[in-house]
Subunit: 416 residues, 2 copies
């Protein structure tokens, strides 16, 4: 318990992760890849474009039961990947994944043996999304038609495309029904899209720090981020691969900005306030002088080493475009909710201003108005949008309780 | 009246300004310049640096009374200038001020004959701050020692420096006491600094959408903005003057970001929502497609034509550094407030998240705790931080009422 309580402190700087040999870790993991499309079976995108080669990188933890009724799909957020838990055994061989040598998967605190998403009970799957840069085909992949990276010739991808991709992967793994799907932020939009697109394919859906569409403010922040990248002189129309320099400055600015939107104002005051790096030498100019500046610099530096700028464009655009009401209800969210069949839990965080509780409540009211089963939880926290990642004590408790509660749908009840 | 009510609509796009010959406009104005420092009387900055040439650009409206007791100082915000009201008669001759041909001063709605800050009663002064790019000496000015623009060799400036500069200007205009000082945002910090530095030099201070210091979140946003500018390959260490291209892309990104922070989330949903520019052709890629993207692009485009990137660095840094408690109370805001003598009105706007009402209330409580005269008003609005500029009906009513109310300090009562 002492180990777990250490792990779940809300300040990321203080978080202590399980060492690889910890009893509650899934231990060493190996990312896998599966080709889900080829020239004879191309992947058809919502835009109408086709991809003749699609490889998906994914990880799994735990064992699929004989009845194949214990699979949980985790959907990752904007900058996430398939490496959700444990320690990547292959990280040393990939310079762009070197951060994994010192960090476990991004939701390691809640996934593992005996943890809230208990890998002794569940078979957990997570796939990297199409358009990303962590193993699944994306703009930095080689275009088989040219032998060069796609860059901006990569077709636009959507949250719907990701769900279709995940379904294709799951079918290849022999899974035709999911015990649950869980996702936060953009992963929450994916979770919702699953519930709307394939309503009878899962028992429970847990949507955290997310909603049926992004606000105008969110659209604006994404636009600023993309502008920072595309206005970088080294962006080169997205074709910067193999060049001496890519749009790392633009990507750094995009990431700094994004980080502010992931935290709450009060949370930032608490964490950084107006503290200076060097109390004895104030007002030295334009270099980082306040702690918060140093934090943002540091975050952006590690990000540009691990993320691809083109992928950032594609994934933020998919986030912009996602509109559950538009896609499934002719613009009417209630009408879209008529499609729902799974039990839903919607979790919002009081200080999340990217997907604010008020918008989550509107969404829940639309679900309730259609008499669909939904649980709504608002967690009080100053951790902002990031709470689903960092407030792992309350999040873990909720996940554990909701996953094990008796289900109302056939094939989705608690494991006996 | 119909003319005035048109002018005060909250949507800037719908605002109709007075034509130059309108009865309630101050009419054509001429920016003036005054040298307030030279080699024998250098301007000493808080940093310890000296400027041997300081010119201040300022405007005045109305007439100074014989008793010199009707002067009101307006303090402008980050991207503001001395041109607060009326129509700049000299704009046609200055390409970088061409926007003034189609726009009156930035607070024209509240300043003029019969308007809330009534130029039939008051003598209104506004000076462009040191470090800016609208006529007052700044990084784009020629350094007399080199004959070239200062760039980043310009010394750091502070809100305190601006106040000293304004005091020097006022003395040269023969004014040793102000009826009132009024400012919003960074101009509100200037107003507060006036009240703390020269407590007996004014009757009333009106501080809007501002506070005694910037939050960690605000520091973060300014850091992102400066990073966007300084990471632009054309920034050239701040010495881009006379070159084919300056850091206009970085400055554009900075401005787009700033604009989001000036609006409220709800206000953006109301104004833009998820509307698209072209409903028939969605998902076309990474160019502006949503209305909000187009708005931000447009705002940034006009800004880079009129503002200097180095000035943006200096002024945001002054905003970062400002800390009334640190400067006047050894870190204790109550102690700083002991210095106050003027009557204060603090005005916050319910949806302003850059200087939130909660922080304004803390400030007001510190003033009250020291038994200093203060009026606090929170205006309910969805206009966000920009409300002090765009919600001119309630703001104008407040200004009119507060300025004309009997004053408690000698020399500062209502004009008989």
């Amino acid at each position: 318990m002492s180990c777990r309580s250490k792990k779940t402190k809300t300040d990321p700087k203080n978080r202590k992760y399980d060492p690889p040999d910890s009893l509650s870790s899934v231990g060493l993991t190996t990312p896998r890849r599966l080709r889900i499309a080829d020239a004879s079976h191309p992947f058809l995108l919502e835009s109408g474009a086709r991809l003749e080669e699609v490889e998906v990188e994914y990880e799994t933890y735990g064992e699929l039961s004989e009845a194949k009724d214990n699979a949980i799909l985790i959907c990752h957020a904007l900058s996430g990947d398939a490496h959700v838990a444990g320690w990547d055994a292959t990280a040393a061989g990939h310079p762009e994944r070197k951060w994994r040598l010192t960090h476990p998967g991004w939701w390691d605190a809640v996934i593992g043996p005996g943890k809230p998403i208990d890998t002794d009970r569940f078979f957990v799957v997570c796939a990297n999304v199409l358009g990303s840069c962590y193993g699944t085909t994306g703009p930095s992949s080689l275009n088989p038609a040219t032998g060069k990276p796609y860059g901006l010739t990569f077709p636009m991808v959507t949250v719907g495309d990701w769900v279709v991709m995940e379904k294709t992967l799951l079918e290849k793994l022999g899974i035709d029904h999911l015990y649950a799907i869980i996702g936060g932020s953009l992963g929450g939009q994916q979770t919702l899209e699953w519930a709307l697109r394939y309503p009878r394919m899962m028992g429970k859906c847990i949507i955290m720090a997310s909603g049926p569409r992004l606000s105008a403010q969110g659209l604006g922040f994404n636009a600023v981020a993309r502008n920072a990248i595309m206005r970088d002189v080294h962006f080169a129309g997205g074709d910067y691969f193999g060049k001496r320099q890519g749009p790392s400055n633009g990507l750094a600015v995009a990431r700094m900005l994004a980080h502010i939107t992931y935290l709450s104002g009060k949370g930032m005051d608490f964490k950084f306030g107006r503290r200076r790096l060097d109390a004895g030498d104030p007002q030295k100019g334009f270099e980082a002088e306040f702690s918060v500046e140093s934090y943002l610099n540091h975050q952006s530096k590690s990000f540009v080493e691990r993320f691809d700028a083109d992928s950032y464009l594609y994934i933020t655009r998919a986030m912009d475009y996602y509109d559950a009401a538009g896609a499934w209800g002719d613009g009417d969210l209630r009408k879209a909710c008529q499609r729902l069949h799974a039990e839903l839990m919607v979790v919002s965080f009081s200080s999340d201003w990217l997907y604010p509780p008020a918008e989550a409540r509107e969404f829940v009211n639309a679900i309730l108005a259609e008499n669909k089963p939904v649980t709504y939880v608002e967690i009080k926290t100053e951790s902002g949008h990031d709470a689903f990642l960092v407030d792992t004590i309350p999040v873990g408790r909720l996940l554990r309780a909701y996953l094990l509660a008796p289900g109302i749908n056939r094939r989705s009840g608690a494991i006996q």
